[in-house]
Symmetry: C2
Subunit: 270 residues, 2 copies
DNA sequence: AAGTGGTCTAGACCACAAT
DNA sequence: TTGTGGTCTAGACCACTTA
């Protein structure tokens, strides 16, 4: 027995369906809130909650006094799909692949320990992987996991099970992440595995992932071939923007500014 | 006479203030909703609305059954600050500068017209600028504005007034944007103005901006020196992620996939 | 077992858009 | 002027955390 989802969630799904299927076309007006209340036999609260979610995703917009209008459908991605390369590949209908270059257990030095919020000399697990889509190299991932998470990775067969899939099986659920995006030149390691010239531009995403208790579970540095993957963000006035433009050099990197503490030599020993 | 802001907004401000000022420290529990209802003398609706906003910004997190806890303060940026280089610079305490390389009125070719949602051969206004922070080159911006917006830019003195500042003065308010982020190699134009080698990695943000009526007002291609600026996004399970990872080569670029239709030669005539 | 947040209902008033 | 969405109140039930 699975319990029924909340009313606002059901209504949200129904509305998204009508927009995606073209029943309501771009620019057209939605029914009034009162009409939705009547049609679905629920009260105004859940109706407004569903509409608020549509607005926040940019599927709908409008002002006071008039019913909202449908807007260009900008698919959004679930958190799981976003942080997991494997789930992402499957969602876009590609075949994910990977080559595990290095899995090691190391003692965290000062910098890394600070970023992972663990004691210095804690045994962290480092994973360096080449990621593929349909057999073609797309990204180099270098990650460092806190001991609580990393110990499961040493035992797991990463060629078969995804990292997050493995961790979820042990009750560790990635819940929140902070991503910093910039561009870097390919070094010898990336040039070799991604099959590009040294110095080629790569799109870098440095991520800190938090579990359900708000504790850091890993940090990762992912370098993408920019002609294979990009990142898109929708932005609007009606809520503080989730995307922040940051200045790099000036201030201290107290906010986790630019790079990661993952030493450059990891993975180069292979 | 300015009317008082909504209750939920006042409460939100008060809560943010207590978190930022350290009255409530990271990891500590917030008061229960009931306590806030009592303290502020309002009902539960606005209280929940204020808390929801805090959650969506990652300032607070938690689960059912227990009061939420304070989380690492991830400053978020207003939409205006995000899309305006000038406002951004001022907010981070730097001196914005710029050099207008080219301002032209051109007839839109097919590709550009389609991206701007205007008739082919419409007179669009193109602006190419070098942007500076504290006198140092940081970004090259190439933008194309629809006629309704562009006509004000030809008359304005861009060295003095910001683009969006000028447009707002004429009742055109940027309201929503779609940003696509990737990395590119510096071409001769960028190499010259940003003072780097040809082929250096640059962080590129392609943006489509919409006005208050949902109409496209401009498209822009901004190329940053990656060691001068980066972009950060906070992500969480509890709402569909605003950040989308996209595959580039495979499918058609119907979603506005990668690049912009801004011809590469714009600005190179200078 | 008690208390908390998650959800829902019913009714109300106001600012603003449509006409 | 009429109707819409934006905001607020009061009260209720349930699932879950906490002690």
């Amino acid at each position: 027995m699975t319990s029924t989802p909340p009313l606002y969630s059901q209504l949200y799904d129904a509305l998204v369906d009508r927009i995606r299927s073209g029943v309501w076309k771009e620019g057209e007006r939605l029914p009034t809130e009162q009409a939705l209340v009547a049609e679905f036999g629920i009260s105004r609260g859940p109706v407004r909650q569903a509409l608020a979610q549509l607005r926040s995703e940019g599927l709908v917009f409008g002002t006071r006094g008039a019913p909202p209008r449908v807007q260009r459908a900008a698919r959004s991605q679930s958190f799981e799909t976003f942080i997991s390369f494997t789930e992402w590949a499957e969602e876009i209908g590609r075949v994910p692949g990977q080559k595990v270059i290095e899995v090691t257990r190391r003692l965290a030095d000062g910098d890394l320990a600070r970023q992972l919020h663990v004691e210095e000399d804690s045994p962290v697990v480092a994973v360096v992987r080449l990621r593929l889509l349909d057999g073609e190299p797309v990204m180099i991932e270098r990650g460092a996991y806190v001991p609580a998470a990393g110990r499961y990775l040493l035992a797991a067969d990463l060629e078969v099970d995804g990292v997050y899939q493995t961790l979820r099986g042990h009750g560790i659920h990635p819940t929140r992440a902070r991503n910093v995006i910039d561009a870097v030149a390919a070094g010898p390691l990336e040039a070799r595995w991604l099959e590009v010239e040294v110095g080629s531009p790569l799109l870098r995403v440095c991520r800190t992932t938090f579990d359900q208790n708000g504790e850091i579970m890993d940090i990762a540095e992912n370098k993408y071939l920019p002609n294979k993957a990009t990142f898109a963000v929708e932005n609007s006035v009606r809520s503080p923007t989730p995307l922040t433009r940051m200045s790099v050099d000036g201030g201290a990197t107290t906010e986790g500014g630019g790079g990661t503490a993952i030493p450059a030599e990891w993975g180069s020993g292979s």
